[in-house]
Symmetry: C3
Subunit: 358 residues, 3 copies
C-alpha cells in the first residue's frame, strides 16, 4: 500500500497526556473530565494497536501505555510500523515537531519502517523564510522551491489554514506580488492572499502534483472556509496546465471533493486521517467518498503524525473499511468479487503509483 500523505513520528518518551494530545485535532488541553481517549479515534487505537505490542485488542489504554513504555518507544514504533503493510510513505516534511519533540528524519523513518520514503515539500515552509527584496520575492521563492523539490514527489499547500480556500483563481501580476511581498517579514507566517496565490501558481508551473489540505484539521482553521468546492475557480484555471491537484482529507466535504474528482481530469482525492478519526464509522464514510469519486482517482493515505500508532490505525482502518464496504456491495449484488479486487488495487496502490510515478 502506498501512503500518499503522512508525517514523521517522534521516538521521545511521551507521558500519558502528551500521548493523548496526539489523538485529537485540538491543540488545547482538554476540559476537566474529558479525555481524547473517549472518542472514535481512541476506540480505533485500542482496537488495532495492542495486538501489535502483544496485548489483546481493546486492552485498556493504561495497560497499553504501560506496555509501550516497557518496550521503549523505538521498539514499539518498529512493531507498530511493521503491522501496517505500507510499502511507500510520501511524507509531508512541513511539520517538524509533535508534542514538543522533534520528528524522525526521513532516512530514520525509512529504516525503522522498512518502507520507501519520499518527500512531499510544504510550499509555505519553503516560501516563508525567503529573505529578499519585494521585487525579487517571486523569483527567489521559485528558485527555493525548485531546489527544495529536486527529489520530491509532490508539494503540499496549507492555504486552508492561512487564508481559507476562497481565493481568486488568476495568477497575480508581478507588481501585485511585489507590493504584497513588501509587507511580508521573512520567517513569519505567510497569510497574504496574493503571496499565497503566487506560491500556488509557482507550484503549478513546477508541475509536481499539488496536495491541498481541505476539510477538517486543527482549530487553527475555520471549517466552512476549507470546503474544497471553494477551490473550483482555481481548479478550472489550473486545468490547462494538467498539473494534478490532490484534495486531502476533505471530510465533512468529501462528497463535494468526490464531485470535483469526477468533474475535472486533473483532480484527485483522499480521506487521510478521516478513516482513523471516525473509528467505527469509517466504512460508511469511505462509502460516501466512493459515491462519485472515480475509482481511479481515490488515493489511500494515513495522514499519520507524531505517533507510530497513527500509521497502524490508518492502515488498519482503511483496510477494514474497504473490506467491509466491498463485501457489503457484493452481498447486495452491486459488484463482483473481481470488481472488488480491482477497486482495492486501484485505491491502495495503483492510483498513487500512476500519479506520482513510483
Amino acid at each position: 500500500m502506498i501512503d500518499q500523505h503522512c508525517h514523521s513520528i517522534t521516538l521521545a518518551d511521551l507521558d500519558d497526556s502528551a500521548f493523548a494530545s496526539l489523538l485529537t485535532e485540538s491543540d488545547r488541553p482538554p476540559a476537566p473530565g474529558i479525555s481524547p481517549f473517549d472518542s472514535s479515534l481512541g476506540l480505533a487505537v485500542r482496537r488495532w494497536c495492542p495486538p501489535a505490542l502483544g496485548l489483546p485488542a481493546h486492552a485498556p489504554m493504561a495497560d497499553y501505555l504501560a506496555r509501550r513504555r516497557e518496550l521503549g518507544p523505538a521498539e514499539a514504533a518498529r512493531r507498530l510500523l511493521a503491522a501496517t503493510g505500507i510499502s511507500h510513505c510520501l511524507v509531508d516534511t512541513g511539520l517538524t515537531i509533535a508534542a514538543g519533540h522533534p520528528l524522525l528524519p526521513l532516512p530514520d523513518l525509512a529504516s525503522l519502517s522498512g518502507a520507501q520514503v519520499r518527500e512531499v515539500v510544504r510550499l509555505e515552509s519553503i516560501a516563508e523564510p525567503v529573505d529578499t527584496s519585494p521585487a525579487d520575492w517571486a523569483h527567489a521563492v521559485e528558485s527555493a522551491l525548485r531546489t527544495a523539490t529536486a527529489s520530491a514527489v509532490a508539494v503540499k499547500s496549507v492555504l486552508a489554514y492561512r487564508h481559507g480556500l476562497a481565493i481568486p483563481a488568476e495568477r497575480p501580476s508581478p507588481p501585485e506580488v511585489a507590493h504584497a511581498a513588501a509587507t511580508h517579514r521573512p520567517g513569519r507566517r505567510l497569510t497574504d492572499p496574493v503571496l499565497l496565490r503566487q506560491l500556488l501558481w509557482t507550484a503549478v508551473d513546477l508541475g509536481l502534483p499539488i496536495q491541498l489540505h481541505t476539510g477538517f484539521g486543527d482549530p487553527d482553521l475555520t471549517l466552512h472556509r476549507a470546503d474544497p468546492s471553494l477551490l473550483t475557480d482555481f481548479i478550472r484555471a489550473v486545468e490547462p496546465t494538467a498539473t494534478p491537484l490532490v484534495l486531502l482529507h476533505t471530510y465533512p466535504y468529501h462528497r463535494q471533493a468526490a464531485w470535483l474528482a469526477q468533474s475535472f481530469p486533473h483532480v484527485y482525492a483522499d480521506l487521510g486521517l478521516t478513516l482513523s478519526y471516525t473509528g467505527p464509522r469509517a466504512a460508511t464514510v469511505l462509502g460516501e467518498m466512493l459515491e462519485l469519486t472515480p475509482f481511479a482517482k481515490l488515493l489511500f493515505s494515513t495522514d499519520a503524525y507524531g505517533l507510530p500508532e497513527l500509521y497502524t490505525v490508518g492502515a488498519a482502518q482503511y483496510r477494514h473499511a474497504l473490506h467491509r464496504t466491498l463485501t457489503t456491495w457484493q452481498s447486495d449484488g452491486a459488484c463482483t468479487a473481481a470488481d472488488a479486487t480491482r477497486i482495492a488495487g486501484l485505491v491502495s496502490t495503483e492510483n498513487s503509483r500512476r500519479l506520482y510515478g513510483l
Copy 2:
C-alpha cells in the same frame, strides 16, 4: 412509475469512448488510465443493463458494448426501455444533443418506450433566442413562454448553471429588466441575474410547477453555489402564489432540500440522477432524503440523458434502493408493511400524479 424529470436519448452508433462519455458528469476527456466505467455508475450499468440484452448481470463492459452493437441501437434501446416499468416520462427538452448526436423527438421516444411522454420546457432555451427591443424583452419572453408551454406540464430552470442559486428574491422592476436586456444578445447564453430573475418570475406567473436544477451536475457549475438553501428567500417570495417549486437532484445538499420540502407547502424534491450515480450507495442516499422530506413531497425521476441505459439504471436503482430502505425499516420495527407500500406508491407515482395533474 412516473419519471418526473428526464431527457431524450440518441439512437446513433456510439463508439466506446462516446458511450463512456455519457456515464460521467464530466464533459472532459478522462485523464490517461482513467475510465468512467470504473465508477459507482459504471457498476450500476453492468448490474442492470446486460440482463435486458440477454447477458448475465455484471458482464464485462466490452461484452456488453459488443452485444449492444450486435442488436443495433434501436433494438437495444427498445429492450432497455421496456425493462424500466416507467409509465410516464416528463422530458426536459432543453438538451437536444448527446455526445454530438441529436436526441430523439418526443413522439419517437414515446413509441420506442411505450410510455406517455409529456414536455418540460426549459426556461432559458425559450428566453435566449428572443429578439426584440430591451423595453419589450419581458413581454416578448412571457409571450414566447406561454406559446412554448401550451401543452407542457412544467418548466425547468438552470439558474444554478448560469449564475448560482443566490439571487435576490424580489421580482425586478421593468426598468431594471429593460436596462439588463440591452446587454443581452439574442441567441447568447443568458447569465444576467436580473434577466434570470425576471424569467423565473415570468414562470411563477404562469403557474406551472417550476423544476430547478440544484446540487451536482456537469463542471459548468460550481457546487456550493447550487446548494438549494440559497433559494430560501426566493422560495419565501413565491409562497403566496402557490406555484410549486421542485428541487431537482439536490445531492450532496439533499438534506437541505428535504428541510425546504418540509418547511414550505409549495416545495417538492427529487434525487434524479443521484441514485444512478451513487450505485451501490443509493439506498443510503435515499434514506438520507427521507429523513425530513414528507413522503408526499418526494418525486421519482431518472434524469436519464442520451443513453437508454440511464433509464434502465435509474428505474432499477430507485426500485432497489427503495425496496432495501423500506425492508430495513420494517426489520428494524420502524414501520409496517402497509406503511412501506403506501410510501412506495406515493413516491413512485402518486405524488407526481397529484403535482402535475396527470
Copy 3:
C-alpha cells in the same frame, strides 16, 4: 436520562389538524393531500406512542388520536411522560404557547412527569421587553438577565433565527450598543446584530452554559445561515472565558458541530429533535455525530415541544438509536460491551450532570 433541552407541553384538547401541526417544523398549513403524519417523525410517533396508551405499536393515527381523546389530554400526557425514563428536564421557557394553547407552567410539568425540572432562560425573551434609555440598554439587559437566571441552569440563544450565525466575534463597544439600542422598540423582535452580539456577550459574562440554536428549525430561519461553523470566530473569542457553548440540534451540519466540539474545550453538542424527526434513520445520524464528537461532549435532549408524545418519541428514538449504534460497533469488533456501557452513560446522563452541575 437528563433531557438537556426541551419545552413544556399543552394539555389542551387538540383537534387532529392541531395535533398534526406539532409534528412538523413547518408553521404553514400543509398543501392539499399532504399530511405531517406521512413522515419519518409520523412513523416514529406511531411506533412508540400507542403502546404507552394501551394500543399496539404502529396503530393507525386515527385510532391513536381516538384513544388519546378517550383518556383525556392529562391522563395521556401522564402515561406518555412516564414511558420516557427521563429524570431531569432542562426547559427552555422562551416558548409559551403551542398550536395556540398555553404551555404548562414548570411546576405542573414536574408533577405530571415526575422529573426534576430546571429552567433554561431564553436570552431574547428577557432582552426584548426591556424598556429603558439607549445609553442604559446594556446595563438594564444585564440586570434583567441576572434576575431572570437566578435559579436557571443555562441560557439559550436564537441568534440563528434573528440574524443567522455569521456575526462578528468581538464584543461591541458601549457607543455602538447605545446607538443600536436607539432603534429598538421594547417588546419588538430583536434583530439588530449589534444588540444580539451584546446580548450574547452579556450571557458570556454571566458564565452559565449558553445553548445556541444551530441547524434546522422552523421556516423562520434560513438553513445555511444556521451552520454552526459560522460561529467559529465567536467560539474562539469566548474561549478564554471558559463559558460553555452548547450547539443544539446542528443537523444537517452535525459533522461540523462535532468538529467544533472536538476542537474547542468549551464547546458541546447535541442532536435534539433530529433523532425524533429522522425516525427510522436516527441510528445513522447519531453515528455520524459520534464520528468526531468526543464521547464526553455529546448531550442527550429531546427538544420536545407542545406534545407529550415528543418526549416519548425523543427518549425512545435516542435509546433505540444508541443501542443500535453501539450494538453494531460491537458486532463489527470496534468496541467492547464495557465501552458501549460507558459511552451510553456519558451521553445519557454524565455529560449533562458535569456540565450543568446537576
